[in-house]
Symmetry: C2
Subunit: 162 residues, 2 copies
């Protein structure tokens, strides 16, 4: 969905919402992200890890061309940057962790005008392989509550692994 | 190195080698592969796994545009296809496997005219982050001895994970 198509939707949402509760526009599904550059990966496999309950499995980070400029050259992520956190279940097969079903994807979309209160980033989670079924009602608030700690790194946890 | 530059080198090698021992041309380092599409990943973490000694760590497979056509649409890999097996050491950090140093990359390059005796693929391994330091003297023979089992899948083990 382009921003041109989004504008009437935003107006509709603004009219429908109670006064004072206008939400930031939703982040779109990042179509084609599996062909984007692969930033890095990690496997959280044990309950010993503090993030196991939320992020257990193998995750891969992907970045579009705008985000890759900041990952590889440093500096602030430009508007239009999109980063995808792709979490898959894992199975232990004979001493190897192999990928299973997709649990969800998390998306960060940089747009400083749209997402002023959450570090200039919009946030979203899509369940499994769905492009429409969202994880939570207010991903911006939920994701930002943790990513906020990374303010000095433009709210991003991952670094590019060459 | 382009094939135009390679031709004199091949001639030189042919002249230098004993008769009957002419080798297939070497496969080039796959410059820029870290920006190619990411096919799939796996972590071989235990000696229980039969490939631990050779491939222990986290590996990622990357494919150029030609190879991605076959991965996503099926059929034989076209000439020009390049697949990279990127193997990194792993560290167990508090219940998570995180990537460490690069151990080596393995490369498959499809060129049916050049690599007639090894399934139409040329093979190579580059140590660590080096673009010149090759793993073995005859990667074609060594890699093919195992990949040969995958003849019905055009000698490729991996499948694309959407």
């Amino acid at each position: 969905m382009t921003s041109r198509h989004l504008a009437p939707l935003v107006l509709l949402l603004a009219l429908a919402a109670p006064l004072g509760a206008a939400e930031a526009p939703k982040v779109d599904y990042p179509a084609g992200y599996r062909q984007w550059a692969h930033v890095r990966s990690m496997v959280i496999y044990s309950e010993k890890h503090p993030l196991f309950a939320t992020f257990g499995g193998i995750h891969h980070l992907y970045a579009n061309a705008e985000a890759m400029r900041a990952y590889t050259k440093g500096g602030t992520f430009p508007d239009g940057s999109v980063i995808v956190f792709d979490l898959l279940d894992t199975k232990d097969e004979n001493g190897a962790w192999v990928p299973g079903e997709r649990k969800f994807i998390g998306v960060m979309h940089k747009d400083r005008a749209k997402y002023k209160t959450t570090g200039g980033w919009g946030w979203e989670g899509f369940k499994g392989d769905s492009r429409t079924d969202r994880m939570v009602t207010d991903a911006n608030a939920q994701c930002f509550s943790c990513h906020e700690k990374q303010k000095d790194n433009d709210f991003v946890f991952s670094g590019y692994r060459p």
